[in-house]
Structures are given as C-alpha cells and as structure tokens.
C-alpha cells in the first residue's frame, strides 16, 4: 500500500508540473493547447537524437529543454495568431480545433517516420529506500527535479516582478494593461514556459519509463484531466490535483488495472465539471 502511495506521489508530481503548463496558458490566454503532449514528445525526441549523436546527457537534456521553449514561441507566433483575433468562447473553440490539427500533423509525421523510437534516460545505481520501500533511483531523481522545478515556479510567481505581472494578467487583464503590462508579451513568456515544462516532464518521465513517439495524446489527456480538476488557471490547483490524482491512479491501477483506473481519473474530472466547474482553486469559469 505504501509502495502504491509513494509511486502515486512520484506520478502526481509529474502530473502537477505537466498540468501547470497547460493551465497557465488557459488562464492567461484563454487558449486550450491540445498539442501539448506533442510538444513534450518533440522535446523528448530532440534529446534522444542528441544522445544518439554522442552528446553527453546533461547538454542533451539542455537541448531538449531549449527545443521546448522554442516550440512554445513558435506556437505563439504562428498557429495562435488567428486565435488571438477572437475573444472568449470562440477563442477557446478555435484554439481547441487548430491545436488538435497541429497535434495530428505532428503525431502523424512522428509515428510514421520513427514508429519505434522512445526516449529512456537510465539513471545508474541501485534502489533507494524510502519509508521501507525500495524506490528506483530514476523515480527519485525525477521527483527531486520536479520538486525543484515546482519550487522555482512558485518563487517566480510570488517573488519576481515579472511573475507577479503574469499573475495580474490572469487576475484582471484590463487592470494589468492599465499599469503598463502587455498581455501579449506575458502570454508569449508563458507559452515559452509551458513548452519548457512539457519538455522537463518528458525528460524526467523518461527516467521512470520510456517516453515513446506515440505518447503525445495520452500526455495531453492526463494534463487536461489534472487541469480541469485543479482549476483552469491555477498552478497551485494543478499541483494539488496532480498529487491527489497521482495517488488515486496508482492505488487504483494496482487493484483494478490500468484501463479502469483511467476511468476513475476521467470520472474525477467529470465530477469536478459537474459539481464545481471552477475546479479546486480555479480562476476562470
């Protein structure tokens, strides 16, 4: 049981960091990015290719992260341009459809060209014991990195002027403009950040299990579920929901199997939408 809970926490931290990227973009820009999973996969592939080209692990990971940032910026400059001309519900709908199209383009190409590839980062060394349960070293390292990243995010949003400026656009876009903050520029920064987070989760996840080329849509679905439960626009909500759902998923998977445990997660998202659409800590409705 404790093993399941610990596995759940490892999974949950990843869920939280992943969802943070998706929820920020929605909270700030009213854009639902269904190609999020593909961004993660592309970054993972970039790291893989770098490693295959004899680049040492750390710089290779750096390349993967950089690719993630660049993807976010490319998104902002290309596919999101027509979406920015709309507002509100129309904007979310169009973003949903166009990013779905992009997701299909990327997924179709990658699964056709590299059907069997996947990124795996093997972390050497034996298992580490936590609370009497031997945990794989890869899981521990992944969780440690995720915790540091979450901490950095927190520090950014609470402690820096830029971070507070971003939060202010989520709180009240017009108010932000009145104090001289450019919402478009903030969105660009957040998109680059979401690309970075997707890449980071892909890389850390590969320490636990291989991240394959076809994993894109699955990643997006998980991110969406956690985002909905945590509340659209809230990073703390995403973290909280991530950990809770990670533990639930882990316990369920060990008792009733992976397919049915996914149904439980889906059910959690459905219940949230029906009972408390703003999620645990959400901002937008």
């Amino acid at each position: 049981m404790i093993a399941s809970v610990l596995d759940g926490i490892v999974l949950g931290l990843q869920f939280g960091l992943l969802a943070a990227g998706l929820t920020l973009v929605y909270g700030l820009g009213g854009v639902l990015n269904l190609a999020y999973g593909q961004m993660a996969v592309i970054s993972a592939m970039a790291t893989l290719f770098a490693i295959n080209a004899e680049v040492p692990i750390l710089p290779a990971v750096g390349i993967g992260l950089a690719v993630g940032v660049v993807l976010g910026l490319i998104f902002d400059q290309t596919i999101l341009r027509p979406i920015y001309r709309l507002q509100g519900e129309a904007r979310v709908l169009l973003s949903l459809l166009l990013t779905l199209g992009v997701a299909f383009i990327v997924d179709g190409y990658l699964t056709w060209r590299y059907p069997t590839e996947g990124l795996t980062l093997r972390i050497g060394g034996g298992p580490i014991e936590i609370l009497g349960v031997p945990m794989r070293r890869g899981s521990i390292v992944a969780s440690a990195i995720t915790l540091v990243a979450l901490g950095a995010l927190f520090a950014f949003f609470r402690g820096t002027t830029l971070g507070r400026a971003v939060r202010s656009v989520i709180e009240d876009e017009e108010g932000a403009r009145l104090v001289g903050i450019d919402p478009q520029r903030m969105l660009r920064i957040i998109l680059a950040l979401s690309g970075l987070l997707a890449a980071l989760v892909a890389v850390t996840q590969s320490m636990v299990r291989p991240v394959t080329v076809s994993a894109g849509f699955g990643i997006t679905v998980f991110a969406l579920i956690v985002t909905v439960v945590g509340g659209l626009g809230s990073v703390t909500g995403a973290m909280l929901a991530g950990i809770i759902l990670g533990i639930v998923s882990s316990i369920a998977a060990s008792s009733i199997g992976t397919f049915l445990s996914l149904i439980i997660l889906l059910g959690a998202a459905a219940v949230t939408i029906l009972i408390r659409p703003s999620g645990l800590l959400g901002v937008r409705e």
């Binding site: 400026a165 709180e171 017009e174 403009r177 009145l178 001289g180 450019d182 901002v283």
Partner: protein, 233 residues
Amino acid sequence: MMLEVSGLAAGYQGADVIRDVDFHVDSGEAVMIIGSNGAGKTTLFRSVLGLLAPSSGAVRFEGSDIVGMPAQRIARLGVSFVPAERHLFPRMTVQENLALGAYPDRPDTETMTLVMDLFPRLAERRRQHAGTMSGGEQQMLAMGRALMAKPRLLVLDEPTTGLAPKLAAEAYQALRVLRGRGLTVLVAEQQVPLAMAFSDRGYVLENGMIELEGTSEALSMNPEVRRSYLGVT
C-alpha cells in the same frame, strides 16, 4: 497643452457613441467632464486612453500623437487611468496591487509612503486581498495603484460611484493634496457639485457631443447646468 483631443469619434460595433469631441487639459489644471448616465463619458475616456480604438480624431499627450496606441503603452508615458470598474487584482494583496502599479519598475518607498499617508485605510490593510475589501477601500486602492506609477496626468472615471458621501469627500480631498504637488487631473463625474468644487474648468458631454464648456464658476452659474446637474429649479 498636456492633453489635447480633437474631432474624436468612437463607439461600438460600427455605431459611434461620441462624435466630434474636442477638449484639452493644461499642465497643472483640474478639468471635469460632466454629463448624465449614458452620455458617453466612459466611451470617451476609453478611446482617449487606448482601451477602445476611436473611429476618427486626434489625441496628443505632451505633444506626441497617442491615438490608437494600446493602453499599456499609454500607461507608461505618464498617464494613469482609474476606470469606473477599478479593475483591481482581487486575489492579490493591497501591497501587491500597489507594487504592480509601478510596473515595470520596483515600487519606490517615497511614493508608497505618500499613498499610505493619503489613504491610511490602505496602510491598515496591507496584506488583505483586494477582492475582500469594501467599495470605498477598493476605490482608494485603485487610486493608490494609479499613483504608484508617478503619473503626470491622472484620469478618473466616476471615482465616487457607490461611495458614501464621507468617503467621496475624502477621495476629493486626496485629489486636492495631489494637485498641490503638481499633479494634473481629469475627472468624469456624475456627482457634479463635488467635481465642480474641485475643478478649474469643465465640459458638459451629452448625447456624445460636447455641449458646453467653461470655467467651473461660469458653468455653475449657467441656468441649463443648474437645472440639469445641480438640481436647482
């Protein structure tokens, strides 16, 4: 002239709400725009300050053309706008709201002290979330936030709406203090007596057009104005 507006027309979905509006504000002045509900005061301010694209006309601030410039750029030129709906950041504290007023700079202690002195209630509630404050406190916070940018021109849209008379008087008292320190003020008001006592000059906006203009004194003696806005029959 600090702010010069000529031939301004603006509206929503193709229909102009304001037409052919001319007015100006000189450095150091206090100017009011009065008019009944729906006259177009808010539309006027929004189009001057970059929140709404005007359909025609010119706006110059300190000699430079600012018409069509987005609000966030205008905010950095030395103009601060306090809108009727305030647009505070509800889940951030008073301290954080004020600090952001100075964006992109860090808030400087001198200005912060000034704001706290002008609005002691804000000092008491530094760590309170803006969304949980009363209407009057929020209005003060909105004004304080606008001041953190050290503007040369402060524009306010109906700052006393929903405020108890005591608080409304306090708000205008604060504005007087600020004028004494050299701030130029442009205010749109429905509570005409307060604005009149405070301003040097004024314009009357009705049905989207400027119908009257003059010094506050002249306006206060105008029979039309007395009847429509001062309740004198």
